[in-house]
């Protein structure tokens, strides 16, 4: 209580750090090509596996490609994929969740039955299976991860529609004479927004992690286009000779995830009056 009044030390730091990192990621994604000193695909064989130097600020990879430029380009890839996937999962998941929670009855049962079957696949498994079907490509990852995360959105949205439609202010709206659709649009949906925002923030982090894992396995962004995950994968044989090729992309992923996780915590504290 008192720490909250004074502004809990962790809380403000969370928000500031989270916003800073997420902001930096977005800037890098948008302006990356202008910041990067080289074309991320340009070969410079004499410099292959070289460490940081004035020519290649963060060194060069096994084909002599500039690591800084590739990291910047990878940021753009990761951010774009994560953004598109979150939007995809949110739109489809919210639509199905609202449909299930609103109509109930057999529509609800069918949607939830299929949804539960999807949820019975743990973690990466569903995404791996879908990648096998779709094939490794940018659009493929968005589709596979989107479908893999959609069931969670359906769950959360349906649960909050179900819980909010039992609130007394929703009943008051019915007694007032409002139609079901107006009640839904005016009282139920606006009150579901908070959990959806919290989920979207958290999901953004999960998807960046999953995308880098898939790319690391060679089932994500296909080379030569750089992504943080496939940079780690192609650099793995050279771990002894050029450790910077391993350290840097991983550091980028970790800092990004840390920022998003802290932003997620801050958003949750901010939207949840209970905590």
């Amino acid at each position: 209580m008192i720490a909250r009044a004074l502004g809990r030390p962790g809380l403000k730091f969370n928000a500031i750090f989270g916003i800073a990192v997420t902001g930096a990621l977005i800037l890098l994604a948008v302006f990356g090509p202008w910041i990067a000193p080289y074309d991320p695909l340009k070969l410079d064989l004499p410099s292959r596996l070289s460490g940081p130097s004035p020519v290649h600020l963060l060194g060069a990879d096994e084909f002599g490609r500039d690591v800084l430029s590739r990291l910047a380009s990878g940021a753009r890839t990761s951010a774009w994929i994560a953004f598109a996937t979150v939007i995809f999962a949110l739109i489809t998941g919210t639509a199905l969740g609202v449909l299930a929670g609103f109509l109930r009855g057999w529509v609800d049962r069918v949607i939830m039955m299929v949804n539960d079957a999807f949820l019975a696949f743990p973690g990466l498994l569903l995404a791996l299976g879908l990648m096998a079907v779709i094939g490794a490509s940018r659009e493929g990852i968005i589709l596979a991860l989107g479908l893999a995360y959609m069931p969670i959105v359906v769950r959360v949205v349906r649960a909050s529609v179900m819980s909010i439609r039992e609130r007394e202010y929703v009943e008051a709206s019915r007694v007032m004479g409002n139609s079901e659709i107006i009640t839904m649009a005016r009282h139920v949906l606006p009150n579901c927004v908070a959990p959806i925002i919290v989920l979207a923030t958290t999901m953004f982090g999960w998807i960046i992690l999953s995308e880098s894992a898939l790319s690391f396995l060679g089932l994500g962004v296909p080379p030569p286009a750089p992504s943080w995950g496939n940079m780690l994968s192609t650099a793995r044989p050279y771990i002894g000779q050029a450790p910077h090729l391993i350290i840097l992309p991983g550091l980028c992923i970790s800092i990004t995830l840390l920022g998003i996780n802290m932003l997620g915590d801050a958003v949750r504290d901010w939207l949840d009056p209970k905590m």
Partner: protein, 553 residues
């Protein structure tokens, strides 16, 4: 400031007891003084936010995190200073010499630990006793408080018992150690009237048997005066009045206490009731409402019958109170009338037309002429709407009203319910409980309905606020002549507003009649039991309560 003259016979005495938020923060209890003799009873009375609960918790050093007692506070128990006592020494007093009973029996027993273990814990810790002895003592105690099958009870978990039973069990587990002092923090507030009385009587008996002193914390001056002689009234952290309960009740010195006493239910408060003989407005005939049972693996659990064949007529302009314990079906019936619950059989008609079930436009149109005010003003207002939006929303369904006329109507209604216009742009969480309930009432009457269901509209509010809201409902009714179904478990509130009273038990109406008939000449045994347990202050104080108190002292 009143400073009681502590004599040598005091067991517990507090001097300058102050509690602040952090060492230098706001004081939520300010220089409280009281004395309690061995075997005696003392009550701290106040509304929410008065600091009474924290004052009680500070005795055992159980203040939640940022709260601390100030350095000059003193709490002496049996000659020992409790403030600033080392944790270890304090733990030897907790439970063993001073026991504590909490308000919410649903959350103050650990759901994951058996009753037997929770009872044994204190004995094992404070008394050198063998396992068998502990078990014997526990069984004897459960038998003493009339628990059926005590040995089965020991192996059970708290969720297997009702609220009243849990409170008895908690009382038993605390009294098992025969402490010198029992601190009871609103021990019956969460319980039904009938059960409340049982638990309080049991508490008095058990403490009398063991010579245990009691410090009772309560918001209910009426209830307190039935059991306790020595009362301290608290307001915003300060003790504003101390004395015998008779004196506080009949000759209050302080304005605040006077307000509190005025808020006690009195029949005269609502004005004398004229007989209402208007034409029938709502007619309920042979209504049965079942709640479907939970689906199980191969079948459904048995359906629960909430309302079991009720006939009822509500006339134009009258207030009919529907009284009963929780689970009696009164709330379900009220909700069925406004169309929130569909009856399994029977008919409900409004102005001679059967209520159309379902969600058709016709049903909705009909429902606009009846409204509902819910119990909890915290959950009945949409947190994302401003007060202005909440109050004008029903008017949007009226296509004849343009924006200007809607605003005019809103201003009018806001004033009628006693709110000021500067609240209009605020959101529900920025308002007090009483203000919110006024907003809920404004929303209900803004379209001038002919009928309003008030579902326990005051039971979530403080006593003084309750009174204001009850008076508001009456005055609005006087002005607009809407009929009201007043659903409540609180006979005190009912006595003040009702024209007629219907008593409900297990889904059936067991008695119905004019208010004075039901209150003064109850015919059904259940009604009599309810009235007896309600401890209504102004009629019974002289006789019944006096006798009860004599027993307690």
């Amino acid at each position: 400031m009143l400073v009681p003259t502590g004599d040598n016979n005091t067991m517990l005495s507090a001097r300058n007891l102050s509690i602040s938020v952090g060492p230098s923060g706001k004081r939520i209890v300010d220089e409280l003084n009281f004395d309690l003799a061995p075997g005696d009873m003392l009550a701290l009375v106040g509304e929410s936010g008065s600091g009474k609960t924290m004052a009680a918790r500070s005795i055992l050093g159980l203040l939640p995190a940022p709260l601390v007692t100030t350095p000059d506070s003193s709490i002496r128990f049996e000659g020992q200073e409790l403030t600033g006592l080392a944790p270890k020494a304090l733990r030897q007093i907790r439970g063993a010499q001073i026991g504590m009973v909490f308000q919410e029996p649903m959350v103050s027993l650990n759901p994951a630990v058996t009753i037997g273990e929770q009872m044994a814990e204190g004995l094992r810790l404070h008394r050198a006793m063998s396992r068998a002895e502990i078990k014997d003592r526990s069984l004897a105690m459960l038998e003493r408080i009339q628990i059926k099958d005590p040995s089965k009870c020991l192996a059970s978990y708290p969720h297997e018992f009702s609220g009243g039973m849990r409170q008895r069990i908690m009382l038993a587990s605390v009294m098992l150690l025969k402490p010198r002092l029992l601190i009871a923090d609103e021990p019956t507030t969460a319980l039904d009237t009938l059960v409340q009385r049982d638990v309080l009587d049991l508490m008095v008996e058990l403490t009398r048997e063991n010579g245990t002193a009691v410090m009772l914390i309560s918001h209910d001056l009426g209830m307190v005066s039935h059991y306790v002689n020595n009362v301290t009234v608290m307001c915003e952290g300060k003790a504003i009045e101390q004395g015998s309960s008779t004196q506080v009740l009949h000759a209050p010195q302080h304005d605040y206490t006077r307000g509190l006493v005025d808020a006690l239910p009195k029949r005269s408060a609502g004005g004398s009731r004229r007989a209402v003989n208007g034409p029938p407005l709502v007619e309920i005939s042979n209504v049965v409402i079942d709640y479907p049972g939970r689906p199980r693996l191969f079948a459904r659990a048995e359906a629960k019958r909430a309302v079991d064949g009720v006939d009822l007529t509500i006339r134009r302009g009258e207030t009919l109170a529907l009284v009963g314990a929780s689970g009696s079906g009164k709330t379900t019936l009220g909700r069925a009338i406004v169309g929130l619950v569909r009856p399994s059989s029977g008919t409900i008609s409004f102005l001679g037309k059967a209520i159309a079930n379902g969600r058709s436009a016709d049903a909705r149109a009909q429902r606009r002429d009846m409204q509902i005010v819910f119990q909890d003003p915290y959950s009945s207002l949409d947190p994302r709407q401003s007060i202005a939006e909440i109050v004008t929303e029903p008017l949007k369904l009226d296509t004849e009203l343009d924006r200007k006329r809607r605003t005019a109507r809103m201003d009018e209604v806001i004033e009628e319910v006693g709110l000021t216009r500067d609240l209009l742009e605020r959101f529900p969480h920025q308002l007090s409980g009483g203000q919110r309930q006024r907003v809920a009432i404004a929303r209900a009457i803004v379209r001038r309905p002919g009928f309003v269901v008030a579902d326990e509209p005051v039971s979530a509010l403080d006593m003084t606020v309750q009174k204001q809201i009850l008076l508001l409902i009456r005055s609005l009714q006087e002005r607009y002549g809407f009929a009201c179904l007043f659903v409540s478990h609180d006979l005190g509130a009912v006595e003040q507003v009702a024209d007629r009273v219907a008593v409900m038990q297990d889904g059936k109406i067991v008695e119905i009649g004019d208010r004075d008939d039901v209150f003064d000449r109850p015919r059904h045994a259940y009604t009599r039991a309810l009235l007896d347990a309600a401890m209504l202050i102004d009629r019974r104080f002289a006789d019944g309560a006096g006798a009860r108190k004599a027993v307690a002292q």
